[in-house]
């Protein structure tokens, strides 16, 4: 049996707009996450981050941090990348390739004025000539999935808005969240239409930010400062255009979710809270269906009536999510940070009572053409 990796330290960079560089953000976050774990720079022997620099990936940041890792991973599959890094770190640890894996992220999207959702979506590859010619944006790709969901299942804008409202309520309990004033379904529907049927308040915020995670070998459990969180199950998948025949209402979560739960030996009913990537409200709705929290097509009813808010059956995105708290372009790392804090009971006013099992699901790329899905099942010690 493989050794079960532990998440020993986490940190979310507290600022939402900063004068610091993406490298500085990562260095400060790395130090804080290692402190949180009770470990130090010298203990790090595995390093994971996204390829911010095409072609050379993590080289500049490894140089900047002055690290000498034995194991390096620059997997870049969109906003879910850092969730995948946890899965990859666990595999590397199980194989004996490293014992203390550091995962970092830093971005200055807000201060650099990057219009993450509405800018022209060009990847610079062969596929652009068939997709990027048509005013294709990230929000447009998700909006097409929302429109199709409404057509197939009668999902409404009001139901999508429920997700934004619950998430803002959670943000109001997080002092670090970008937006903390409560909103109503009416406010969401009255906000400007960006790409129909998605309104401004159906879309995530744009922030600066970053963070770090420390994943370690279970042998280190006694050396850690806090009770570590156990990785009970993990899985990843990619959904894409499939040669031109794709059901765009089924996301990669339909593959990764059941596999991760099976590895943990758990079912959706065992999950105390979930951190679901919320680039847009529709992302959450489709993901909850695909993870098996409700039947396909029932997502609209599921997210209504406070079920996904604190005190509800399945509280999600208790930090205020990408919709209200923090989304510097790739949010996956914050999903893990909040899930770990919830399992440790460190969330104060927004603490989920008796939080035993947290599910994290990262979505990277776009539901409307191709994306990655990575699911983690985390348990407290």
């Amino acid at each position: 049996m493989k050794p079960q990796a532990l998440i020993a330290g986490v940190h979310e960079f507290p600022e939402r707009k900063t004068g610091k560089s993406m490298l500085e953000i990562q260095a400060l976050s790395a130090r804080a996450a290692l402190e949180d774990a009770g470990l130090g720079k010298k203990d790090v022997d595995g390093y994971f981050t996204v390829a911010a620099n095409p072609g050379i990936g993590p080289l500049p940041i490894v140089d900047y941090l002055n690290l000498n890792p034995k194991y390096i991973d620059g997997t870049t599959i969109g906003g879910s990348s850092f969730v995948a890094h946890v899965n990859h770190a666990a595999a590397a640890i199980a194989e004996g390739r490293c014992r203390v894996a550091l995962i970092t992220y830093g971005s200055t999207s807000r201060s650099s004025g990057v219009a993450v959702g509405t800018r022209e979506r060009i990847s610079g590859d062969y596929l652009d000539q068939f997709e990027a010619l048509y005013g294709t944006s990230t929000v447009g790709l998700y909006a097409m999935v929302a429109r199709r969901h409404m057509h197939e299942y009668g999902t409404t804008s009001e139901q999508l808005a429920e997700i934004a409202v619950a998430t803002r309520r959670h943000a109001s309990l997080n002092p670090l969240a970008l937006y903390r004033d409560p909103i109503t379904v009416k406010d969401v529907l009255a906000s400007p239409m960006i790409s129909a049927p998605l309104h401004l308040l159906d879309c995530c915020v744009i922030t600066d930010g970053g963070g770090a995670l420390v994943v370690v070998h279970p042998d280190l459990a006694r050396d850690l400062k806090k009770p570590p969180v156990r990785l009970l199950g993990s899985a990843e998948a990619i959904a894409h255009t499939s040669g031109g025949r794709r059901d765009f209402l089924v996301s990669a979560a339909a593959e990764s979710g059941p596999r991760a739960l099976a590895e943990a030996g758990l079912s959706p009913r065992d999950v105390s809270m979930a951190m679901i990537y919320d680039s847009f409200t529709i992302t959450v709705l489709v993901t909850l269906e695909d993870l098996g929290f409700c039947k396909k097509g029932q997502g609209g009813a599921f997210v209504s009536g406070g079920r996904i808010a604190l005190g509800g059956e399945l509280p999600i995105n208790t930090d205020g999510g990408g919709l209200s708290s923090n989304h510097p372009g790739m949010r996956g790392i914050f999903l893990v940070v909040e899930a770990v804090k919830q399992l440790r009971g460190e969330c104060g006013e927004r603490q989920v009572k008796d939080c035993r099992v947290a599910l994290v699901h990262g979505t990277g790329g776009a539901l409307g053409n191709r994306h990655s899905g990575v699911t983690l099942i985390l348990g407290r010690s």
Partner: protein
Amino acid sequence: MAEYAKPLPEVTAESKPFWDACARHEFRVQTCRACGAVQYYPRGVCAACWSAEVEWKPSAGRGRVYTFTVTHRTQARGFRDELPYVLAWIELDEGVQVMSNIVGVEPAKVAIGMPVRVTFEDVKDGLSIPKFTAA
């Protein structure tokens, strides 16, 4: 011809037969000689079986709107001056999906299931971009 301010395709040897056909206002999909699969977007191998024996097949360019979005805000070149516009996935009668714009129709009139046909926007000599309009 007014200058076309929207993004242009970077045509490669692999995609040139597709774009050459578009220039003649002919839409093409591909079929696999090995397994018979029909595919779009075009590529050098069959997406189903990876055979390199894919052949070009003329398509009537007819199908239905699979899904769409009316975009009201964007930074995309050319499009930001023509709001709102319609981005869509079209399902061709051959069963494959094509991403494009729905043009020549009031955005408010576009609906899922609406019959559409291909139309070509002539951009410059030897380059026409496939878009779709009400059939």
